[in-house]
Amino acid sequence: MRFQNTRIIIPITAAALAAAHGMCSAVEMQKVNTHDVFAKIGPLLERRCFECHSHAHKIKGGLALDSRSGWEKGGESGPALVPGRPEASLLIQAVSHVEKDLKMPPRQRLPQAEIELLKDWVRQGAPDPRGAGAGAELKTTDAWEAEFQKRLDWWSLKPMRHPAPPRVQDAAWAREPVDCFIKAGLETADLSPAPPADEATLRRRLALVLTGLPPALAAGGAEARSSSSAEQRLESWVDALLCSPHFGEHFARHWMDVVRYTDTYGYEWDNPAKGSHEYRDYLIRAFNDDTGYDQLVREQLAGDLLTQPRIHAAARTNESLIGPMFYHMGEHRHGSSLMFNGIHQEMVNNKIDAFSKAFLATTVACARCHDHKLEAVAQRDYYALAALFTQPRWTTRGVDAPGRNDAAVSRLKELRSAIRTEMEALWRSRPPLEAAQLQAWAAAHKNALKGVGAPLAAAVSAAEFSKQKAQWQKLHAAALKARADYTPARLDEWVFEGDGLVHGRTEEGTPLVALEGAGVLARLLPAGWHTHALSSRLPGSLRMPPEHRVPGTHVSLRVAGGEFGGHLVVDDHAFQNETVAFYTNARPEWRTFADAVLKNGAQQVAVEFCTAPLNPNFPPRTGLVKGMKNNDPGYDKRSWISITEILTHDSADAPPDAQEVFSGLHEENAAAPEEAWARVAAWMNAAVRRWCDHQCRHGESELLDWMLQQGLLCNEAAPGSRLAGLVAEYRRVEGGIPFPRSVVSMDERHAPAVKYPLNVRGNVDATGELIAPGSLRMLGSRKVSDRLALAESLLQPEHPLTARVYVNRVWQWVFGTGLVATPDDFGRLGERPTHPELLDWLAREFIREGWSTKKLVRRLVLSQTFRQSGTSTEAARERDPANRLLSYMPTRRLEAEGIRDALLAVAGRLEPQLYGRPVSPYRTAEDDKKRLFSGPLDGGGRRSVYLQMSIMDPPKILTGFNLPDLKLPTGRRDVTNVPAQALILLNDPLVHEMAQRWGRQMAQRGAAEGADRRVRVMFERAFAREPAAEETWRWCTALETLGGDTPEGWSALAHALFNAKEFIYYR
């Protein structure tokens, strides 16, 4: 009742008066009735709804109720009323408070009487005398447009300026242009910079900022040259640190926070995120190699679309293809989008959030339910990105450098061909099978006379044989006839990935060389694709187009597979699902896939046939794979699949089996004898002969393979023979093929255009318009064709956000707080830059210098600003309490990883090894169902960046010191200060083990070296400085009370040093 508005009541009252005076015609009578019915509704709407839905106040959700046209047009969800049908009217649903997401007024349900009144009104056709003009007409789209234009007027969306470093009074202080900007800020506030830090403090600060390790280990072997001047020493120290491989580890970890890095997918089963460590190592290499940030943007957003991917010669990887794993960090659900609404929407939301925060410091995810409340981001923008990101398949890509296996593959092909030639000669040299011989064999092998061997069973009686033969013939004819309804699939939109598949095309009867045992051949393969045709180390994935793109309602594939080869049905990108099948059949069998009914806003169902390394859901959750232990992480698996036929059809039945293998039996061939055993022998001999002549008929390999398995074909190489040599060589070459490396990435090849349904008010059950892929309109144009175009649009040199956002992050990594203190939000809820000109100057320099992180970092750490000590003045504390002007360098706590790494480093336990698979953190309890296993207490000495980041149970020692939530992009970590941290350092077994290790080393140095000398060594190692005399005395005295010059005493001292604040803080 706050807002009294009589505008509407007046005409009603006037009409009522007219009626009372009995002066109305029939038409007027009608009007009066309208007014009568509306008489109570008008005030009700005004009282209950206008505060949020009128032009006088707000037009929430685009809905205005102060005119007839207002509800007729309705808001974002469409017309508010259906006259005559209260049950179909959104407004009635809303006031009834039945749907959780549609409750109006939101706080308090209206009294039932008022709801009934509204229902009656609608039932009567919702007469509304107010017409179109009662409220000021303003289309909501126009309203948004005006608002949008207004919102573009914001510092971070405006072009970067070309600021010159300002002139400062004390020009001598500045070493770098950066310093001029900082100094100017200080002069404006009438503050002076702190004096420079001493060399030891600076060396420790530099080591920790650049590598996250204490100085003794930071440079990774690259020793600083001993130089004469302090300045030279400093510069060479900086250069050594920048060249240290530990620089990449440390800076990659920073970026991993930003992209919500995780090694597992959390939720219910904490499944492994396939190839996460490849992505982590890719980042480490990129920072160490100083790969341009522009390239990293391109690769992480669209590395799969680059025509010239970046190949890393040493790592032998296709780096560009690893980049898009950026999208697949964070949590992933296992539910099917078709079974449960909300699955794909949540996953897309996570990606949009990460993309917009990481690269643009913009909170686009806020526009999932409505146009952004504060920024120039429309709800359409959100869904345009959703469409862009769901256009490609989210699936595994092999990331080995192209051609890595080429030499081995061509050698194996040569060898296979040579082996075949030898086998041809061998089999030709053997006498053909004879009827009597077969008869005797059959009598001795009764168990084998099934399937392909059935004719041998039938041959016992001539009558039976004729009957069976006729039956096969009939089946064959019927099958051929029925086959008319089955169409071979056109494969032009199917994706063939992986050397196994690419080199796995076989003709009928291609031999599969045995990789072990006495036999030469393992199998004779039917025509088709066999990923293991050369080696089961080679990966393969056949990706069917989305079901609805494949003609017919069904598609059937004749498939075989083993060793975790199988297929995965992906309901709208939810690849962590439970519809994963692992094949255990060597003989290809039909698998039929019916088109699923798309619902819940899902746009596609995709099926992938893949070997384990290319299966994004391998290993799946525990319990889904037979024959695999829970503690098997699924690395380095041989695996294979075969696909021999692909047919599309409309009937639900799998294609009938044509029994082609028996064709040779019932052919009316003049040469074929009539006697049963002779005919069987002729059937087999003909097949062998045709194989030797490279003229195998379709289906014949099945017979040949059966004969091979049954020992009816010679399969042995004479010792020392050429054949034996060839087989040995084949096995040697095959064994030398490395297992494939793969990550979850993107595959946009043959991807059909996708539109993503807008969710009205973010409600997944209320799908609205289908939105085409696009970018954010505030960045210029929404039009981008694909993710690569999106990436390139971000990399335009004049882009207002990309470089600014990144240099701000780097500034924060170096100085602790960004020039914009909210690195993930440059919008209205974020903070404004303290030094906007400096931010622009740095961004422009950064672009000019080729988007080089190292050059930027070098510039920052060599600045006078960075070299300041931590000495603060009274004036600074008063006028700039948060030190945003940087009148001194703040004392900072090490990050979680830094603390654990320092423990290892100081105790001499740190392994300098780079890269590799995640190391299970130490756990006090395991849960093998969720693969939460415990690793060694000290993690094998590996740096913390290599510990397994499990969403479900992250390393405890790290979470204790503010490892961020692994589900969410985190541009800036919290730094809390709680007793649990004291408990870790006091009592954690790792801290004690490292203390004992270090203490033993100190004790071993022996009494010849005085305690004071050893205390000095410890100080240098832990704090990178010499102890003051008083400190030496203090610690030597303490040693006496803690056990004296014994391993126990020194361990106690080491433990105390770990607990000193100086150990976890640096100045």
């Binding site: 959780k100 219910e268 909300g342 909170t363 903070e831 169902k929 200060n977 709680v978 649990a980 006091l986």
Partner: protein, 468 residues
């Protein structure tokens, strides 16, 4: 207050909380006189909450919501009209009657099934809700909804909010304790996290077996530890003097004093050997079944923690087999629901009675809830069949803390398949529990991401019908 100033203020608040009270919030409350108590209402009925989390989803139609129609129609297809997206559902599924008999209990005549004979004995204390409605029939989402008020999580746990809003009355103990069994529930440890609230409000996990809390057992003799702390005091004082931010260093130093106290306080509370034998027996501490022993130990510890002033105690169920979560009986409903009941039933009832006998039940709310119910239907009635996920009408109860005992609120339809009357959301339950603790759920907020965040997001109604 702009964000910068606010962060600073929060930092200071946290520092002080850390500096003088550790997890304790006394100083915080005193300091924040203006900032915090605005959410406090004048009348708090309860001081503590014990949340018995029935992880996995106990079946409502086999515990508190009798549906004779299920037996009558057992084996018949449920039909298209009974299909719901708030359950694992399909028209071809068939109704499944309860394997347990329901009887009326106590003066109130509340219906409880034979699955929970001990809980049935305290029927007159139970304030049942039979019309809970969740959002998605999936464990992860529902767990996070139950704990954080959001299916996506990324928000503080209920216990963290209570700790933040009310603080603890014991400076050596945390405000939110989870009595766990080394079992990470679906949705992850985030269920117990503090998210954007200060880290001191996240749950301290207490284990049933072995050392109850990580790093709580001192590895040094007390005298040695004291000597080390003395050495550090001098060393750190020097460092603090040279550091640009002495406050943070001093707070970190002060944390060592709190940590030192916690080393004795926490194990003391966790040690139930001092409890009289009849109390231990009442809870089932001596059970031959190790899982029941764990649960009984934790239930008894819960009472001790509440007595010691911990605001929010949560007890999780031990996981005893390959199930995804303890009560998640997609199959073997009879056997494994009975196993879960055997593990928890006696201790829950004992906890309620014990609290009553000590006069603590009035000020302590016992909340018994899973994250979902179970479908009244199954794919096929067999010996080993089970029930699947269902959030469209399920049951939970509160006892004590000013809730009306012996009542049932809300109804499901005659098959227990959907809510028929008075739907209740988790937000409503959260709002009501906070209300009983003297907190207005709309006013207990924390500024994060540009919004004043609440446990109940933008939802929640205080269910005054449930209150005595």
């Amino acid at each position: 207050m702009n964000q910068l100033e606010m962060r600073h203020a929060c930092g200071r608040r946290e520092l002080l909380a850390g500096a003088s009270a550790g997890f304790g919030m006394l100083v915080l409350q005193a300091l924040a006189g203006a900032a915090l108590p605005q959410h406090r209402t004048t009348r708090a009925r309860a001081k503590n909450i014990i949340f018995c989390f029935m992880d996995g989803g106990p079946s409502h139609v086999d515990t508190f919501d009798p549906k004779p129609m299920l037996k009558k129609h057992e084996g018949r297809p449920i039909g298209e009209s009974a299909v719901s997206k708030r359950a694992q559902s399909g028209a071809g599924r068939v109704w499944l009657g309860s394997p347990w008999e329901f009887r009326q209990h106590g003066e109130s005549g509340l219906w409880v099934s034979g699955l929970l004979p001990h809980t049935a004995r305290v029927a007159d204390h139970l304030c049942l809700v039979r019309s809970m409605v969740g959002e998605l029939p999936l464990h992860g989402q529902q767990n996070l909804l139950l704990h954080t008020g959001r299916i996506l999580g990324q928000a503080p746990s209920f216990g963290a909010w209570v700790s933040y809003g009310l603080g603890t009355e014991n400076t050596s103990l945390p405000g939110y304790v989870v009595l766990n069994n080394d079992w990470v529930p679906n949705g992850g440890l985030e269920n117990f996290g503090s998210s954007f609230l200060p880290a001191s409000h996240q749950a301290t996990m207490v284990r049933a077996r072995g050392v109850p809390v990580d790093n709580i057992a001192p590895r040094d003799a007390a005298a040695v530890q004291r000597r080390k702390l003395a050495l550090l005091a001098a060393q750190d004082a020097d460092f603090a003097a040279r550091a640009s931010d002495a406050n943070a260093i001093e707070a970190a130093i002060a944390n060592y004093e709190t940590a030192f106290r916690m080393q004795s306080a926490v194990p003391q509370i966790a040690d139930i050997s001092t409890e009289p034998e009849h109390v231990r027996r009442m809870y089932g501490v001596g059970s031959a079944d190790e899982h029941q022993r764990f649960y009984a130990t934790q239930a008894l510890r819960a009472r001790r923690l509440v007595e010691a002033g911990v605001r929010f105690v949560e007890i999780t169920c031990p996981s005893f087999d390959g199930n995804n979560s303890p009560w998640d009986q997609h199959g073997l409903l009879k056997i494994n629901h009975e196993k879960n009941a055997r593990i928890t039933d006696q201790s829950v009832a004992a906890l309620i009675l014990d609290l009553e006998q000590r006069g603590l039940l009035d000020e302590t709310i016992v909340l018994w809830a899973g994250e979902m119910g179970r479908t009244p239907h199954t794919p096929k009635v067999t010996e080993t069949c089970g029930r699947d996920h269902h959030v469209n009408g399920y049951s939970l109860f509160m006892a004590g803390g000013g809730f009306r005992g012996g009542m049932a609120y809300g109804e499901t339809d005659e098959f227990g398949n959907s809510v028929a009357r008075d739907p209740v959301s988790i937000h409503d339950v959260h709002a009501t529990l906070l209300h009983q603790m003297g907190v207005d759920h709309e006013k207990l907020t924390y500024r994060h991401g540009g919004r004043d965040q609440r446990l109940t997001d933008v939802h929640g109604r205080v269910l005054s019908e449930l209150l005595a």
